[in-house]
Symmetry: C2
């Protein structure tokens, strides 16, 4: 306890700075994230810490409450407050002081993703050995100019491989010169927003929508206009009525994020006609279209884009792995120069080795084979997990089983505060996502989004039961 | 020629889009950058291309003139216009159509950086084999959680290694939790600008200064206030008189970019006092302080920063290699939370493998050894090249031999248009940089910045003679 107190009270809070409660919150959060405080470790009582820091007890209580709300700590009533026992403590957060100068034999100790975490491919099934061999070969080939600043628009062979892949797989016909490589989707959307938007420009944004895209657009001072989504995707008619003067629309036409529906063909046409008429741009976030299980999937919106208004954005985070941090855009010919210059200014190029390896992975045919295997694997995992959920929670919930994607959506027959359910689940080491957190406006639906890609078929029943218990729903057998 | 015409006239220019001249410029530039047009290849005459595209001949002339000005093409008078023969055609720009699906045996054909190019470490002397071995080992260790989204603030072991290194080498004492890993300096300055500045906020910026930092700040809608630099660095007194209400100052205190002078101690103190008094922030861009040859170098500005107002920014581009795209910041405790959140929004973390390898390279002691070797190498290359320049151009120029850094500055005794000299040099395959291009305002000094790090001692005389000939200065022996 003495050590914990020392960590938290090492420096006095700054009375001139942010609100004290904010400072204390940040300090504890940082210590947890850094690993200086370990999962399960007890924090000082609010009375003791308040006295040591010379602040009001209410200040500490407020900081602890916020930390508890965000899942960093767990209030155990009379037993005090502890660091959440089930926090992911992965390679970024080794617990005890990491030794400087010590030889780190292996690169990174492996830990598993948290159950139900969204947006992760099946990390257990990635062809690691093959990737490592290609990486070793790529690293040996780095010399001379390939050590210098990378071409801002990306490694040419990767752009060529992507142009070929997107033509076949998504109906997107483009020249390699229109492909711009980015450090993932967040980089792409930030780049587009910073380049094409003026502060306060209006942007059509799906309601509910993808929160990281929302944050990036807001960081660029865009004014998001939430547009409701129904069974056919974004309500283009509503958008045109509310904000015909928007400069940009951001859509997920293949599997709407998070609801999973596809944007219907009439709406695709309406969206493109609007963009063309008012000289606006459309970002197509095609984040997981590779994984589709039922019926035929539609080609990309970009394939219909005769007027060249669509910026198509894809990522290797779902098709390869997220820590590669590689994504790509296909941009209208009229925007190539501006976006290339902006990429140079904002990033000065994207790391070369990952691009080299991804290009080889694609051109040697591994990419197509890997996607085929993952499609079959995800279909099986999705089916098994859906059956297990129905078996555990059938009476209580409505399960949205969309035609594609990497997550399931549970809605509850009775209205529930999904954020409370998420909090309960986090305490049990489970990481579902609250549907209501994906909205901008005040009218929100409640539900739980559950990533299934990392739930092996043989474990589906166990995870479904864990979830039921964490949510404190009765056992159907009871 | 038929093929060239096909490339350039494949699609008609869009009469509704950007100015036609702009469109044609972008099209040729892209074809050159993509490698669809090769160095030395002849372009259609402006008359022929204009008729084929259905535009005025003046439009083609204007586009060609701009391309010539930027070094992409070379006007050979009656012999027509050709793609610049000495363009760097590196791995990003393979010449003839790269075959999709073809096995790419080795990752990347090696080419050399252009002579005198700024800001590159000695690419020929990088310990490639060692780096490749560490990379292979790192790649084999990637599994589970290390394939998922990286911690937004960076790989913890690298942050720890950097905290230890910066304490010893730069006098910067910080917790690993204050170190944020970025995808290079451009990412860092963009992140800081987008997070801390409101549009039109004033920023003190060195005049002359580092143009990529300037561009990134302008992209974030900052209002740059150019502050003159003299022998003691930025004129803090002038800055305080002109723009006391600035929100940020961006400085290169160790070796001012591009002049190479150090910010004096009294000015350092004045800068920090101002920032503390008006609650502004300071970015210390410590881009090449590792290379210092004469006398003792000052510790970092950050080491004096008792009030915690300085964001220290460093990069591995100069100490390792640029295409790694890794940089770092040490940020004030009060900003950790905000900048970490912003990093997550803007990038969603930085690629893990490069971080893992950099961490091992540092913790196994290779980094310190490599820097020591490079310091000695650069001192030798700098001396040899300076002597060769004096031997070739002694009467004509004034050579600024600063105490550190990776470039030399030539000023000419007679006033010259340095941009013309640069254009001449580019035609000879040399890539000096014009000093006058590093200014924001209209009062500009003229000179040539010459990177010396990639000029082997044995080649110094030849390169100096090449430069003299390219600049059309008389041979001193004549």
């Amino acid at each position: 306890m003495a050590i914990v107190r020392e960590i938290l009270a090492l420096r006095r809070l700054d009375p001139q700075g942010l609100p004290l409660q904010e400072q204390l919150y940040a300090r504890v959060r940082r210590a947890v994230v850094d690993g200086r405080l370990s999962p399960g470790q007890r924090l000082p009582s609010s009375r003791a810490l308040a006295s040591q820091l010379g602040v009001a007890r209410g200040t500490v209580d407020a900081a602890y409450a916020r930390l508890a709300g965000e899942g960093y700590v767990l209030a155990r009533g009379p037993a005090g407050t502890v660091v959440s026992p089930n926090l992911r403590t992965d390679i970024q957060s080794p617990r005890p002081k990491p030794a400087v100068g010590r030889t780190c034999a292996k690169a990174a100790p492996a830990t598993q993703p948290r159950p139900f975490q969204l947006g992760l491919p099946a990390l257990d099934m990635f062809p690691r050995g093959l990737w490592a061999r290609l990486t070793a070969r790529g690293a040996r080939g780095l010399a001379g100019g390939s050590l210098a600043y990378p071409e801002p628009t990306g490694f040419y062979r990767l752009r060529t491989a992507l142009a070929a892949y997107l033509a076949v797989s998504r109906g997107v016909v483009c020249e390699p010169g229109q492909v711009i490589i980015t450090a993932g989707f967040q980089s792409a959307i930030s780049l587009v927003a910073n380049t094409l938007l003026q502060p306060r420009d209006k942007v059509w944004f799906e309601e509910p929508g993808y929160f990281l895209a929302r944050d990036a657009l807001q960081m660029a001072s865009a004014q998001l206009v939430p547009i409701p989504v129904d069974d056919e995707g974004m309500r283009i008619d509503v958008a045109e009525a509310y904000a015909p003067d928007a400069r940009l629309a951001v859509v997920t036409p293949s599997h709407q994020s998070p609801l999973g529906v596809a944007l219907s063909l009439p709406r695709r046409q309406a969206l493109l006609a609007w963009a063309n008429a008012v000289d606006a741009w459309v970002v197509e976030d095609d984040y997981d279209s590779e994984f589709h299980y039922v019926g035929r999937k539609l080609p990309a919106l970009k394939s219909l884009d005769a007027a060249d208004r669509v910026i198509y954005a894809g990522s290797f985070s779902k098709t390869l792995f997220p820590s590669l941090r590689l994504g790509y855009m296909v941009v209208p010919a009229a925007l190539v120069g501006r976006l290339a210059d902006a990429a140079n200014t904002a990033y000065h190029g994207t790391q070369i080795l990952g691009q080299v390896v991804a290009a080889e992975f694609m051109s040697e045919g591994h990419f197509a084979r890997h996607l085929k295997r993952m499609r079959a694997l995800y279909a099986a995992r999705r089916g098994a997990f859906a059956r297990a959920l129905v078996a555990e929670l059938g009476e209580e919930v409505e399960l949205s089983l969309q035609a594609g994607g990497m997550s399931l959506l549970l809605r509850f027959r009775d209205p529930v505060a999904d954020v409370d359910l998420v909090r309960r689940a986090l305490r049990h080491g489970l990481a579902p996502t609250a549907l209501s957190d994906q909205y901008i406006g005040n009218v929100r639906e409640s539900g739980l989004l559950l990533g299934f890609t990392n739930i092996p078929e043989t474990e589906a029943a166990r995870y479904a039961a864990d979830l039921r218990r964490a949510l404190e729903y009765p056992n159907r057998g009871d």
